[in-house]
């Protein structure tokens, strides 16, 4: 069979197709069709010719097979040091073979490559730090995902996810109406406790344009009201766009570069339309990666920068604490052992290690903060990055992958983990569910709200 009804080389571009694909519960038919899907070898060879350039080819070609990458990979460590989990092996046996055979590979090969690309690598980029040549297999697996996606070999959820971005410009089928209604509803609810609080939509020339992860309006609307409370207390002149508010990109996980471009350009269009001084994104790692780190390149910006300065939430929060816009009540500082999860996407891959630790210095009583080992840019992936959290087919492998983070947390002795990243937060929640080690985990927003000093003029008036 050349192409299936669901499993094929065509991206999902209409709501109708999206609903049909969602209707195939668990991707049963989708994966059955995948077993029959032909490889378009000519297309694959053309992709290689156009996109596999000297950086990737030299990496593949020059790898000295020294094996120093093995111990750098948390998936190698938590799978009983299975040699098949050595990063160099994983990439050489997938992308390396595709390049060597110039795309002349068959269906079984592609299905195996899909399994490796999405269940044996989270694109955390840690191996690249330990290779003497700086060969970054996370970059190469991300590239490999792009090749696999273009041939239709992509996990069901991620085909849907990238389709969501194409159809709704947001994952989890959240529409712009859903979003603005959620903002209005959250503002209304919060006003009882916070008189004068607003979530201004589409305000021109604000100091800050705030963007989120679609799962906040979908599942965690309180995250939006917490952001509003903090901007309110800090006295910020801020706004959210009615469209272009969604910062995440499941298409980044899927390797759907066209959808990545569509998505990020949509956010940049909101910046152009509203002309804020800066943009601030929520506590999410891959959202920041998609919009701020890789996004400028997808949008074709030669300077590699966003149209306006675009801060990760931790950068804004550190600034607000530093400048005293938000003050922490010393009596309420955390006085239990607490540790911090470094998100690969904005710590290793964006250098914000000092920023998150600065925040910790305001929130945690001295002596109670315990670093994980290793930490900062050398930290391990939470276990659920790169889309791993969301793929049902690879749930078992994902759960096993959580063991490294579990042990890192256990070694700190901390019972609270600060996790300013949606993906890490989910993975840590799941590891508690899976292994029951008795920890709590939190984003920064609720912690700060619970311990900040509320200026008198912002406090609710006592009823007479």
């Amino acid at each position: 069979m050349p192409e299936g009804k669901f499993c094929n080389r065509t991206p999902v571009n209409t709501q109708e197709d999206l609903e049909a694909l969602l209707g195939d519960k668990g991707g049963k038919q989708y994966y059955a069709e995948m077993e029959e899907l032909d490889v378009d070898k000519a297309k694959l060879a053309t992709s290689l010719k156009n996109t596999c350039k000297s950086r990737l080819r030299t990496w593949l070609d020059m790898c000295a097979h020294c094996g120093l990458c093995a111990d750098s990979c948390f998936l190698y460590l938590c799978n009983d040091r299975d040699p098949k989990q050595v990063p160099a092996y994983k990439i050489q046996s997938t992308l390396g073979e595709i390049v060597k055979r110039n795309g002349d590979v068959d269906n079984a090969f592609m299905r195996q490559a899909m399994e490796v690309a999405w269940s044996q690598c989270t694109c955390c980029n840690r191996c690249g730090q330990y290779c003497p040549y700086g060969i970054d297999m996370g970059v190469m697996f991300s590239y490999t995902r792009g090749l696999l996606y273009s041939q239709g070999f992509v996990p069901w959820e991620l085909k849907i996810g990238s389709g969501m971005h194409r159809v709704f410009k947001a994952q989890m089928n959240v529409t712009d109406e859903d979003w603005t209604e959620t903002c209005e509803w959250m503002a209304e609810e919060a006003q009882d406790e916070w008189p004068g609080l607003e979530i201004p939509i589409d305000k021109q020339d604000a100091d800050i344009m705030y963007t989120v992860n679609a799962r906040e309006p979908k599942h965690y609307p309180e995250d939006i009201s917490e952001a509003a409370v903090l901007f309110h207390v800090a006295g910020e002149n801020w706004t959210v766009p009615s469209s272009g508010w969604e910062q995440t990109s499941l298409s980044l996980f899927a390797g759907d570069w066209e959808a990545c471009t569509l998505q990020v350009k949509h956010v940049y269009a909101a910046i152009d339309r509203l002309n804020p001084k800066r943009a601030v994104g929520t506590e999410c790692g891959h959202a920041h990666r998609a919009t701020v780190i890789e996004g400028p390149y997808w949008a074709g910006r030669p300077d590699g920068l966003t149209p306006k300065p675009y801060l990760h939430y931790t950068e804004w929060l550190a600034e607000a604490l530093r400048e005293g816009k938000i003050k922490i009540d010393p009596a309420k500082r955390i006085k239990q052992l607490v540790t911090l999860q470094d998100s690969c996407n904005y710590i290793r891959n964006y250098g914000l290690k000092k920023i998150t630790r600065e925040i910790v210095s305001y929130l945690v009583e001295p002596g109670y903060f315990v670093e994980m080992s290793p930490n900062k840019e050398h930290n391990y992936c939470c276990g659920g990055g790169g889309g791993f959290n969301g793929i049902g087919r690879f749930r078992k492998q994902r759960n096993r992958a959580l063991m490294v983070k579990r042990d890192q947390i256990l070694d700190t002795g901390a019972k609270l983990v600060i996790a300013p990243c949606h993906n890490c937060w989910d993975a840590i929640r799941d590891l508690e569910e899976e292994f029951k080690i008795g920890i709590k985990w939190s984003f920064l927003k609720p912690l700060v709200i619970s311990m900040m000093i509320v200026p008198e003029h912002l406090q609710p008036q006592e009823e007479e």
Binding site: D71, Q129, C131, G134, Y297, G304, Y350
Partner: protein
Amino acid sequence: MYQIITGPLLWLTFLVFVGGLAWRVYTYVKGLDWKLDRVAYGTQTAHGVRGAANSILSWVVPFGSQGWKVKPIFTIMFFVFHIGIVITPLFLLGHAVILKMRFGISWPALPMYMADILTVGMMIAGVCIIVRRIALPEVRIITSFYDYLLLVITIAPFFTGFMAVHQLGGDYKVWLYAHIISGEVMLLAIPFTKLFHMVGFFLTRGQIGMDYGIKRGGMKGTNMAW
């Protein structure tokens, strides 16, 4: 025989070696693509150069990077092997004498005992690297015949040279010829095999350093702690 291998063949070797390397460096740099690699090489060059320097320096210094620190035994083997390979042929007394006799160039030379220490150290490290390839499952799985062949190509000029210099194992002339030929084979192999890393190391390390120096934190003022 001696005339050929130290005359035309040697010159041809140098020509292919230098020309081949130059071609590979040219095609590598030309193939870098800011959009595909997603690194603004051309517009954020100052940040890139800083990142590249940090990346290269951290890894050319023994124990300069986290990667070296966590593998101390391998790191020692690695540096003994590579220092021997680079320093010995460049500053061997015998080679300096040839330069003086043929071209009148005065070239500094190592004392013989130092050259011996470096050569023997390099050969021992080479053997350890081979044993490591066989012994460790994580290295064995990615090792192919080609990797051993490259090690043989690399060690051969040192082994034969050592035998010739110390007149061990029979006719020294045979060892000398073998030394010259194996040295030429090694030089010829460099542009066409993984041995390209002699130059390629600086290119790929520089590239990933630029990536970190520009996109992954460098422009935020964070130096990657390699």
